[in-house]
Amino acid sequence: MIRLPLVLVFSALLFSAGVYGVLARRNAVLVLMSIELMLNAVNVNLVGFSAALRSLTGQIFALFVIAVAAAEVGIGLAIVILLFRNRETINVDEVNLLKW
């Protein structure tokens, strides 16, 4: 079994990469992809803890996260398409009818 700290550090790196992506990318689809990266980092954490604690709760939780992520992506992409139809852009900086 891989040692837990390694798994956690690996997941923390992925999570940080996701956070950076959300803050730095401007294409809404890429922002959404970065959020998915963050959710996957969480899942790695959960499965890692699940193995270390020898309890299946973590894996169950990861399963729920995947289900929710699928629903979230569905809605997110629908909103992006709608925005594109209305405004001809998916750049979050150009979306500025409201003051940021």
Binding site: P5, S16, Y20, A24, M33, E36, L37, L63, A67, F84
Partner: protein
């Protein structure tokens, strides 16, 4: 070095590298493909960590369904739509890298500081996974977590309605967009 660790040290750098490459990738399609690579590596970790069922789910749902949806939308909106990599805030990238490393270190030391679960008597994962991982998960999911499982159904209904509501006003939305664009043109 046991096989587990060899596999980990092969796939972990690939996963981190593909994640970082995704962040600096200008082309959305390439970014999506890199993310798929990342998700596959994560699936391999699930296998190493004694979660073969999640390995399958990760490949089928994430790398399969979700990423295909992403690619589909990227294609729909135009592949050539690049993204600039210019920073919005000065010094954001170094700050982000610093914070990311700090988070990783923090977690590392938090775990090293000893969190108590080492003291618990481990049952052994083989015993937990008795009769196969999928069967064991099913036993826990449908007994201890049946209520959250049912709550998910409401979530999925909402997602279905949402996609419908957002997508249905096609004809009207397009004429509306045209009118709004014209209105903006006048103001500008």
């Amino acid at each position: 070095m046991p096989l587990d660790n060899v596999v980990f040290w092969v796939f972990a750098p690939i996963a981190v590298a593909s994640a970082i490459a995704m962040l600096v990738q200008r082309n959305a399609v390439h970014a999506a493909l890199l993310l798929i690579v990342n998700f596959f590596c994560i699936a391999v970790f699930y296998l190493l960590l004694g979660a073969p069922f999640l390995f399958a789910v990760q490949v089928i749902v994430y790398a399969g369904a979700i990423m295909v949806l992403f690619l589909f939308v990227i294609m729909l909106l135009g592949v050539d739509r690049g993204d600039t990599l210019r920073e919005r805030l000065v010094g954001q990238r170094p700050a982000a890298i610093g914070l990311g490393l700090a988070l990783a270190l923090e977690v590392f030391f938090a775990v090293r500081a000893g969190v108590g679960f080492a003291a618990k008597a481990p049952v052994g994962f083989e015993k937990v996974n008795a009769g196969g991982n999928a069967q064991a998960l099913a036993r826990v999911l449908f007994r201890d977590y049946f209520f959250p499982f049912e709550a998910t159904s409401v979530l999925l209904i909402v997602a279905a309605i949402a996609a419908m509501v957002l997508a249905q006003r096609k004809a009207r939305a397009i004429t509306q967009a045209g009118a709004e664009a014209a209105g903006r043109g006048e103001v500008a």
